[in-house]
């Protein structure tokens, strides 16, 4: 036998929704200049050869901005896709889908950052 209060305690929301909502906005604001920089760079480097591309990534500002872009992008993407999955997937696939999506975001972020650093710091 549990009292109504006893049943209620420990149920309900996970209590960290506001933090996720806020971080989605924080990453959105950070991504405004980062993505605009990236779009402008893509226009310039659309037809660059390999050495020009490498030289561009190796400039300190491009290295820093690319790492920040990849980190912010996959954080924002993880939060956004989580909401999409939670809205549309109601079967037993919901938790596996959320886990797979989050693992994918982390793996891609690590790969993107390491690739950038390898270009920037390699010989």
């Amino acid at each position: 036998m549990r009292s109504p209060l006893g049943r209620a305690v420990g149920l309900g929301s996970a209590k960290d929704g506001v933090e996720r909502w806020w971080l989605e906005r924080v990453t959105a604001i950070a991504l405004v200049p980062l993505t605009v920089w990236f779009a402008a760079s893509i226009i310039v480097h659309m037809d660059s050869d390999y050495l020009t591309f490498i030289a561009w990534i190796r400039t300190p500002i491009a290295t820093i901005l690319m790492v920040l872009l990849v980190a912010g992008l996959f954080y924002h993407m993880g939060l956004g896709l989580q909401v999409v999955i939670e809205d549309y997937v109601h079967s037993g696939m919901k938790i596996p889908a959320l886990l797979g999506m989050r693992f994918g975001c982390v793996a891609l972020a690590v790969a993107g950052i390491l690739a950038t650093l390898r270009i920037a710091l390699g010989d």
Partner: protein, 133 residues
Amino acid sequence: MASSTPKRTRPLSPNIQIYRPQLTSVLSIANRITGVVLSMYAVALVVWLVAGAAGPRGYSTMHAFMRSWIGQILVFGGTFSFFMHLCGGIRHLVWDAGYGFDLRAIYASGYAVVVTSTALTVAAWIASIIWVG
């Protein structure tokens, strides 16, 4: 008293298939769709960086694909999705700050998103044609 049970169908809350599309609802789902689409381009961004890190051969394969007609269509779609999500996202940030909720402002900002994202897409491609040739 089963005979007193109303026989006529009761009103149901209208759902998405019944509603006529409006600027507000279309832009709302467009922001979500472009977000999901851009997730796929984020994967492409990592593939591009990894190809660059792999060396000249990996880069030239990626570069040739981007210059192909299917690659160009994909880059164009990505450009439009990006500007749509960017403008829609800024509109959401303004709402989050507590501004622009009356109906006139909502429609004005909605049309601004459509016009600005289209104009920025066109401008980006003109700039790319001028730069790259």
